[in-house]
Amino acid sequence: MPAPVSDSSPSGALVLSSSVDREVVYPIRHEVKPPIARLSISWARGNSFRVSIFKQQCGDNSAGSDDGEVGGQVLEVKIRNGDTEISAAEFRRIAYGSVSPFALLQSRKNMVLGLSKMSMGLSQFNPDGWEYIAEYSKDVSSILGNPKSLPSSAIEDPLEILKKVEEPTCLKAAWELMDVFYADKQSHWWLNERLVDWLAEYDSVLLTRQSTIHSKLFNFQKELDDLQVVEDNPSYWDVISSALAVGWQEIVVKMLRLHGSYQLDQLSNRETENGLVEAVAVLISKMPRMRPELDSGRLGECFKTKPDFTKAWEKWRSQITKLDGSAFWVYCAHVQTREGLRNMLQIILGNVESLSGATCNWMELYISQLLYVRPFTMGLESMYNLAERCMQLKKTSNTDRLMRLMIGILGESTEVVLAECSRGFGPWMVTHAMELLTEESDQVEVLLHEELHDLGGISIEELHRLVYAQVLCSHAFTWQIAPIYLTSCAKQGIGFLETLLYNQPVQHNGMLLKNLEICRLYELDGLSSNIMKIAGVYHWKHGRKAFGVFWLRKARDEVRLNKIALQLFDSVGKSISDESFKQWEGLIELLGSESKNTGGLEFLHKYRDFKKSLHQVHHKGKTTGVVQSAVDSLIALMKNPSTPQRFWLPILNDSLKLIDWHEGPLLNVEQTNLLLNKLQELSMARLRPDFVESDLTPLALSSIRLALAKNLGRAFLEG
């Protein structure tokens, strides 16, 4: 039972144990002096929450009693689970790595499903179905780390019985166990030997109160350098028989060769003893194994068919029995050697008491029985019965999570396997391991995919994926891979995804674009335009007008663009002489010449064109082309409904020269009437309370009126 950690500083983390179902007190260290007035708790980024501690507000009477300090302290408290084996950074590495295998398997499944349109397993349709699963399992396994041999000296150390390897993780051990039973169906004919291999690799991560064979070997290795006569030491024989029990034959043979009788000076007077040691060593190295092959350096003779193996096994056993009954034992003077070797023979012959004595926990005992007592493959049911018997022989109060998983698998209970995956190894494991289970049988298929009323109409598979996706979402770096898992959830995945994407910050364009890219990939167009609206308003509020307009335009948000336009016009210079208009050029360029999706902002573009042509009239040409284009832009502006009313008068004032053109009327009757009507509308609007008075003099208004009237007269005459 892991106890709550007493030392939890702001920088440290709370350790929450999932197996605790009673109240637990987690102390938080803070520097606020009592009395404390208020405490507030809120979620912070990721897996952390914020505890704000407020000091009592000091009254008048506290003048002398306190240091006068007010305020409080805010602490960020991180939550992590008790699994210290895998750090948060290492978990992220695993999460990143498992995305590709998972996505590949999903797309293959969908492809097969699309081909068949029937709810039957992958394997029934596709002969390569198992290969897909096996490939997936291998890919995921490789992410969990490969046991790398640490660099050792080129010359083999005769005293090095345990190879130095990087410590494997419990998570990898669990995955490999799942792989043995569910993914690698091709190897089921040599399941026993696979389990032997599995234990050889992961015995060191079995967490029990008692020691393991690995830890015994590890401790003996440390003593070995100081031992003069190894065979006199009882732990030498103890360790050898333990290693033999679980089939680590290379270690056994190597250790036997350390026996003192091999030394040249002793060979002559310990001849019989040495003969016996060597005979056992040779027999062990010739053990028949029901498996396709052995890695180089490993001992045994492989057999691929049951009859061949049975024959070799019987022959080998008879040799052992013969040696056991040999007369030479009497001549072996060294008691420890005699006893030790004969015990080893009993282990090989499958004497349950010897096996039980040589192993430390039921898992090791179980493997030893698979190796020496029941070397032939059997059904899961009898494997389960055997495991139960082993557990009775090696009773422990506390069982390891790997052992619990093993029992679940042997018990053929999918629910238990899932529960153990989830309880022991977390959401990552259960989500990814489920893929191995789905092909198991129709019954499992139904169990995982049935929509359950209790779960709000989602299946167990979807539930676990959603939980895992939530874990990914809780971190700023991994939320981007959550969509892969969410989109594989038929019922609620898209809903969750939308919430996730909505909640992402829009401050930085880089982040925003990554967000929008996910929307694009999953064709969430509506969401994408909403996010752009949020971004647009955010940038606008923070004075980055260009980006505000850019995003709102992309979102086709006419309503907000119109509102923005009204604000913008306030700051746009209203008179032709205003040089500040030049700085608007960039924004106007951004708007482009097309008036689509710009809302009221299209006015800016037209206004700019008008000012440009007017400028040309004033400074450059009196050519009819230039003048005519100025008139055209004037009329276009005044006709356009998006031209704000308060611009009408300044525009007309700016165009006085055009209206009162010295070479004759430029505007025809219809155009002049339009302008006069606008003027009339303005004087009507003056009566409304929200009218904005222009800063032009009343004189300007009358001169516009006069010029228009004059032009109308001249236009009549010309017409």
């Binding site: 980024r45 990721g46 991180k78 948060a88 950074a89 290492e90 992220r92 590495r93 990143y96 995305v99 590709s100 996505a103 971190h475 700023a476 770096f477 981007q480 930085h508 364009n509 880089g510 674009l513 990554k514 890219e517 694009r520 940038h539 923070h542 004075g543 980055r544 007008k545 260009a546 980006f547 850019f550 335009r553 992309k554 030049k582 700085q583 608007w584 050029e585 960039g586 924004l587 360029e589 951004l590 482009g592 010449s593 097309e594």
Partner: protein, 350 residues
């Protein structure tokens, strides 16, 4: 996409950093031996940012941190340059400060630091910094619409505002063309050309009207100062030749896919660089309007070399975004890039 024969495939080495990588650059050589890379990192657990110098060793290729400097905020743009034989690291932050670090040649440690605090150059994150090839002149641009020039002087950093659009135009990329000229890019695929001899605004502007995207990165080749290469949204890479101002040459992107060009990516192009490794015939004999070969990386997770009129060649395809890369000027076959999933990758081309 052109098929690359196995002999031409680059060797790829990935180095997990267990921290988010905000930027990565090669460091100009410190001495005859030893190669170094500069990595800008963000650690979410401690909410801290740093710049680290990593030394690279060959056979097998490995990188290990050599020295580190803690940054007050996340790095938004990272550049290196060589100034009087001393390598300098220029880094801008999301809070708007600029830091110039010098690297001690003896032990590759980051020793002295000059900085301009936040709110002086820019109000908000600095989008991009660009340093003149052989010097201490650094441009900074941002979404707030300001363009600043920061120079490394005897007594520290001197800075001067070149332009302020008050947010009416936002700049997201910048690149020096000559000691007096430079180019900037922004939203709406717009590019601006500036000449310090003509103050008061951009000399000329290119408005990319065809689609509303953002320019993320630019490059200008020293032998082709009139051509500005830009990359941005929708896998777009285009060249703007000042001599034919309103006709961009589209090398990749949505527009390109309508014509015969195959677009290597569809998402944001985060970095574009001319690629000195590809010897495209006789460069001297090439028409000056021909665009030189370039390399891009994108949000879709690819690094591709693109060449006008040729099929793009994919060098790296990752399941996650590639946020930036740098080509080693001393060894152009070597490319270092930062991957979204907290790791650095080094490509060695044969």
């Amino acid at each position: 996409m052109a098929i690359v024969s196995p002999q031409q495939q680059p060797q790829i080495h990935r180095f997990p950093q267990f921290k988010y990588i905000d930027g990565v650059r090669w460091l100009p050589p410190l001495s005859a031996f030893g190669r170094f890379a500069v990595v800008a990192l963000f650690d979410s657990d401690s909410d801290s940012s740093s710049i680290e110098i990593h030394s690279l060793t060959q056979n097998p290729l490995d990188m290990a941190p050599q020295s580190a400097w803690t940054s007050p905020s996340r790095i938004s743009s990272l550049k290196t340059s060589q100034f009087y034989q001393n390598p300098l690291v220029f880094a801008s932050t999301y809070t708007g400060s600029l830091h110039v670090l010098s690297v001690e040649p003896m032990d590759a440690s980051l020793d002295s630091e000059l900085s301009v605090p936040e709110k002086i150059l820019h109000d908000r994150p600095i989008s991009c910094v660009d340093v003149m090839d052989s010097g201490g002149e650094c441009l900074t641009v941002a979404e707030d619409g300001r363009v600043n020039l920061v120079s490394v002087g005897e007594s520290g950093l001197n800075y001067r505002r070149i332009f302020d659009s008050n947010g009416l135009v936002s700049y997201t990329a910048a690149k020096w063309a000559s000691p007096t000229e430079f180019a900037t890019g922004g939203c709406g695929f717009s590019l601006q050309w500036w000449d310090q001899r003509k103050p008061g605004g951009a000399v000329c502007q290119f408005k990319g009207d065809w689609a509303s995207g953002i320019v993320h990165c630019m490059d200008i080749h020293p032998s082709r100062k009139h051509t500005c290469l830009a990359g941005g949204s929708f896998g777009t890479v285009f060249a703007w030749d000042l001599r034919w101002q309103q006709q961009p040459i589209i090398l990749s992107g949505l527009e390109g896919s309508k014509t015969s060009n195959f677009s290597p990516c569809e998402s944001e192009v985060w970095e574009v660089r001319y690629d000195p490794y590809i010897k495209s015939g006789n460069i001297g004999g090439m028409s000056s309007s021909q665009i030189l070969p370039a390399m891009i990386c994108s949000e879709d997770g690819i690094i591709t070399s693109i060449e006008q009129g040729k099929q793009p060649v994919e060098l790296l395809a990752e399941p996650c975004a590639i946020n930036g890369f740098d080509i080693d000027h001393q060894h152009p076959s070597e490319v270092i890039c930062n991957l979204e999933w907290e790791s650095v990758a080094i490509l060695s081309r044969p």
